[in-house]
Symmetry: C2
Subunit: 480 residues, 2 copies
């Protein structure tokens, strides 16, 4: 165990050093703007870098075989320790957040949730804004590595369905992992650049375009304006956003396979369902949306944008959708559970789990009618081991359990029922906005008590790690 | 299929005749009270009896082998057709309900949910009140037969764990079923009488004691007073209610086994957890309850009573628990999911399913850490087929799916989010009160539109049939 711990700490410290170096970006931006806060960011970079540097030196040479135990320890350390260690820019910089608020904002960034405690974004210095975007952008790469390599290796929540090769659970995993991570980075950078270009062409300033591109591809949803995407009046901007959010909600395996020029890229059923659900919910919303301008090009763009924003768990708002008649609240609440495809930066339960759940219910009904029949489980055309289906089901149940627990704790902290429930859900699913007056899409999380901010930050990380990896920490089998 | 249908219709018509005969009870009660509405009840009895009598005659002699298909058709017919066919007393009698409201109230009675659309219970004629209590009391016997015989036979939702004999799925099922139903009726009548005596001794009028005993043992929760159990100022009344609600939440197999003087009655883990959850939630509520009189004997009795009332899905209210500080709302919301033990009249997911879910999560975590380990599933000390565990899981997932769907439909009908969500949950779990201003424990369902009342009535029946039996109707395999 000690060796696993030291090796995990070493990997974490290397990532910590990279993030410390990234803090020079806001320092440079504010220096360029002539904003006198740039030394604060430099100071944060030095302090963070020094701390992680010492830890990196102390753990130098520590290695451990890549066992399930090491995977669990490493992933938990990366996601629990790093966010807390890089709150410097938000505490020391012009944002002047309290420590709990900074932990919330940083966790919301890394997990690409996109909930914020900051109001007055329009008047904020560019350094702080670009730092928030960078948090989400870096978080996105972390999530992709997690979802494409680590979780399938660990057999978490049925994700082994999406292993790139059936032999991934072997010694060859590390060299292949390096090749995949390189491919991910190339694709991710390329798509971000394309998205920024799209935003720029449709009228965003260069600064806004770059920031929103970073938080679009990571399905994060931090904006540089309080009105979020509603700030941009050109309807084409919403379509650009919808397009790239949808791409970011697709499995990156698809892009990786295309880039590594593999043959027979199979069309995953979750991709078909992803688009079917977007189309169906948009249609339902259009039919039931009450009020003015129901069928204008702008309202259509807003509907599509908001649906994709919630289902991909990005959390940008084109406007306050909870005012769209009585159906919108429950519908967006349900969409929050869904999430994008496995192998994307999106959170939530993920579409493929919904497919699996649906298939299991159908299978059970067939058995009810024909108790002696044999009904093999399929995903697409492939026959699947029922145990994989089971893992997907177990993760969904754990999700529901954590949702209940988090709601209860938030309730005990004095939050009203809608805030507690929708806050717990939006955090666990890594979406961003909640429901109701306090944390709805027209508001921020600033009004919550510090203790609730910490609970929500923890819930974001638990959700991001697909719950099971965190729960494993509580098993005495891990520590033996 | 035609034969199954005719045979099921015959059984349904016999039960319909019994219920028609039962309508003479309110007629007699109001005749005795000198209330001039007694002919209305007699008229309802004759109309209902005549209709079902003709159907019984037309289907005379129709039989079908007791196959899964026949079980599914019979159960659906009993629970969908009967409630609608016996709305006479509430439409023609002094309650003068509209047809949707009467369907809601009757479904709420039969499914022992206990939600009501009637205000001014204190001023209502005794005939209508006793009819509502009878609906729940008869509903209770139906649920026990369903839960102890039909659903385990059909292997629904993991209930085969609770088969009385491992050979139940055989030709011997019918004679044994008759013996079990007799035992159930004896126990049910005996416990109701004891409960009525307990209520009478602690100060209820004979009429109130009999009515509340019927709705206590059926975990129904209809009351003869708008203030529900809060009407009775003697604290001992609450303890009597708590005791008998808890008994009604226990598996009737336990009582049946005792009555048929079987040896080695094993203590089911769900019974232990049932009491553990009651104790734990009561303690949490006491710790977090804000306001006056936190530790008086009355407040302790109210806490225990309300917790047992919600977990057994009875739905009596000792007072408006949603005013007990911020934790009470979320806590009672969660308790609503739980439900009592399998083989009782309680609704909800049932404790044993929660145990199964918990074990599956633990098993998955062990496999995460030791991928090659073998971890058998146990329920208590017995090793259980993972497929049974799976069935319990699938039913829970279907429950969640139906909860989302019902919430969505109620939202589309214009209800606010809390009303839609808590209304859908309280109906599917057969509890009674919802949350919020409109349908909270201090209110009734009178304020909802007729269309929502019908949706909720359907949800109650879907929940009562453990969902899967209803879903089976939509499988083309059933109709082939």
């Amino acid at each position: 165990m000690g060796q696993d711990f030291r090796a995990a700490l070493h990997v974490t410290s290397v990532v910590g050093l990279i993030l410390a170096a990234a803090m020079f970006v806001p320092a440079l931006v504010n220096f360029g703007d002539g904003h006198d806060s740039w030394p604060d960011f430099a100071m944060a970079a030095l302090l963070t870098g020094l701390s992680w540097g010492m830890i990196a030196a102390a753990t130098h040479g520590a290695t451990a075989p890549f066992t399930p135990r090491f995977g669990i320890v490493l992933v938990n350390m990366l996601w629990w320790v790093l966010p807390v260690s890089v709150i410097g820019p938000l505490v020391l910089g012009p944002a002047q957040l309290s420590i709990p608020a900074a932990i919330f904002e940083t966790a919301s960034g890394f997990t690409t949730t996109g909930s914020t405690v900051i109001t007055g974004l329009d008047g904020l210095d560019h350094g702080t804004l670009v730092w928030r975007s960078l948090l989400q952008w870096f978080g996105g790469t972390g999530i992709l590595s997690l979802g494409l390599i680590v979780l399938p290796f660990l057999n978490v929540g049925g994700l082994q369905l999406f292993r790139l090769e059936s032999s991934d659970r072997s010694e060859k995993v590390l060299p292949r992992a390096a090749a995949i991570i390189r491919a991910i980075v190339v694709i991710y950078v390329g798509l971000t650049a394309a998205c920024a270009l799209g935003y720029r062409v449709t009228g965003m300033s260069p600064f806004d375009a770059i920031n929103h591109a970073m938080t679009t591809l990571s399905t994060g949803g931090f904006s540089t304006h309080d009105a979020s995407m509603g700030y941009f009046t050109n309807t084409a901007t919403l379509w650009v956003g919808s397009f790239f959010m949808a791409l970011a909600g697709l499995p990156f395996t698809l892009f990786v396979a295309l880039l590594l020029s593999r043959k027979n890229v199979r069309l995953d059923p979750q991709v078909i369902w992803f688009f079917a659900i977007i189309a169906a919910t948009t249609l339902i919303l259009l039919l039931f949306r009450s009020g003015d301008a129901v069928l204008s090009p702008r309202s259509l763009a807003e509907d599509v944008f908001n649906v994709i924003s919630v289902i991909t768990t990005t959390g940008f708002a084109a406007n306050d959708y909870t005012t769209w008649g009585p159906l919108a609240g429950p519908l967006f609440f349900l969409l929050t559970f869904f999430g994008g495809c496995a192998g994307s930066t999106a959170g939530g339960l993920k579409i493929y789990r919904l497919i699996v759940l649906w298939k299991m219910v159908r299978g059970a009904l067939k058995e009810l009618i024909h108790p002696h029949g044999v009904f093999p489980m399929r995903y697409g055309t492939e026959r699947i081991d029922p145990l994989i289906f089971n893992a997907a089901l177990v993760m969904s149940v754990s999700f529901a359990g954590f949702l209940g627990l988090t709601t209860l704790v938030l309730g005990a902290q004095g939050n009203d029922f809608v805030t507690a429930l929708s806050g717990a859900l939006t955090a666990l699913a890594n979406v961003g906005p909640g429901l109701g007056e306090v944390i709805g899409p027209a508001s921020t999380f600033k009004g919550l008590p510090s203790s609730s901010l910490l609970v929500l930050a923890a819930a974001m990380i638990v959700g991001r790690l697909e719950i099971m990896v965190v729960l494993a920490l509580f098993m005495r089998q891990l520590w033996r």
